[in-house]
Amino acid sequence: MRKQNWILLFTALMILALVACGKKEEETAEQPATPATNAPAPTPIDQSTVGEVTGKVSFEGTKPKTPVIHMDQDPVCVQKHAGKPVHAEDGDVNDNGTLPNVFVYVKSGAEKYTFAPPSDPVVLDQNGCMYQPHVLGIMAGQTLKVVSSDATTHNIHPMPKDNREWNMSQAPGAAPIEQKFARPEIMVPVKCNQHPWMRAWIGVTSNPFYAVTGSDGTFTIKGLPPGTYTIEAWSAIGGTGQTSDQTVTIGPKESKTLDFSFKAS
């Protein structure tokens, strides 16, 4: 074979290899569980009949001691808190004996409906080398927008079991990172590979019916069509994650109260 032919053959192989690699990357990239073009239209819900579930999540037992987080490695993190100690959030109990950061969602009962993921992204901020919010909900297929308020490099690393794991660095001032989770998953822990104490929990749902308790320990899930639902509450109290389920039937325009309680694991 002449020299020119060898060069042509080599070039052709290189192009083939590049195309093959590019295709592989495309295949592994996160895709919504159901491609947008084939997704069934959202089920119309009569808003005049929807009800809601409200409730409170309390903590039983002695309030656990929340350890101080040592951030000494990164002066940027320390300075952001101006000398105030930062405590582990997964052990938090509100002053009124209720629990913050409990993810409450409709576990079952809403399967007959189809919901389109909201077009607005859910924002996860990195501020003072802690995730804000600590617990958040998002629908499968909805955009998660990760931003940073810190003048230090972070490395966002969700560790799902049923979704694709990813791991991306974000330098100070860098553009927000936008990602999606294709499948529902309760809960996806998120860590920072730069600051090992950072942790967030993401609840990925198949429906928009979820809430996270705040500093008063209460939650409200609105817009529920009449029906019977299993409501699950998830808490990271103790650091391992616990769940509690209850069934509730909502009539037209009805508001039901559901209270949950957790002990330290």
């Binding site: 101080v68 987080i69 040592h70 951030m71 490695q73 959030e89 052990g91 090992p196």
Partner: protein
Amino acid sequence: MGLALALVVICITVTSCYFFWAHTWWFPIDISTIGPAVDHQFMLTLVITGIIFVVAQFALAYAVWKYGSKKDGRKARYSHGNSALEATWTLAAAVLFIGLNLMGYKTWAAIHFIGAPPGAMQIEVWGQQFEWYFRYPGPDGKFGPVHVEKVDDAMGNYLGLDRDHDADSKDDIVTATLAFPVNREVNLILRSKDVTHSFYVRELRMKQDLVPGMEIPIHFTATKTGRYELACAELCGLGHYKMRAFVDVMTQQDFDKWLAQQAASQ
């Protein structure tokens, strides 16, 4: 051309030597009892290798000038050299380096092979991507066991201690700053949670790798109070550049106060 190249070689040699001669970038202060011995060994090595460096560079410059091609048409030619001379200086270099090693052996052994005297303060040093943690045994003088499955950085349990069930762990104190009293023998036990790191405090003249699965002891006595920097000296991943901690050498009184504060925040 040969003369110009020879002058460049001499210029580089003299400039390089100047920085050492003028102490432009020199050793930081020494705060360890072992420091003078380490510095002596370092200086001895530097002077000997420095002299060899200068002689070799000047010889190179001379050869470039003397045996390069000349304007009258004489070309430079390849010479195999002198086998006997080559064997002599290779042997001399070997003797020199082995000799320097033997001379430094005593200092090395004092840090690494001879254990800390009884009564030395015991502190565990833990490296992980990209943090340093330090553990003091508390009043009972015993370190509690480590449970890998209980390690949870986000919950402040950096070392996997079970304070509820392990009596020895109850009073263990875990900190992110390394502090110890001045003029007291300290025995550090180096451990790693993930990959190889390296404990390096310039002022202590101490550098030692942390190897996963091993407990490596090093001991020393600090002679000056102050705040110094501990840097990881082994490339350990993306955040290696920021894997650092402070080393505080305190008076015994200040140290006791500091340790009590740390114990209260556990």
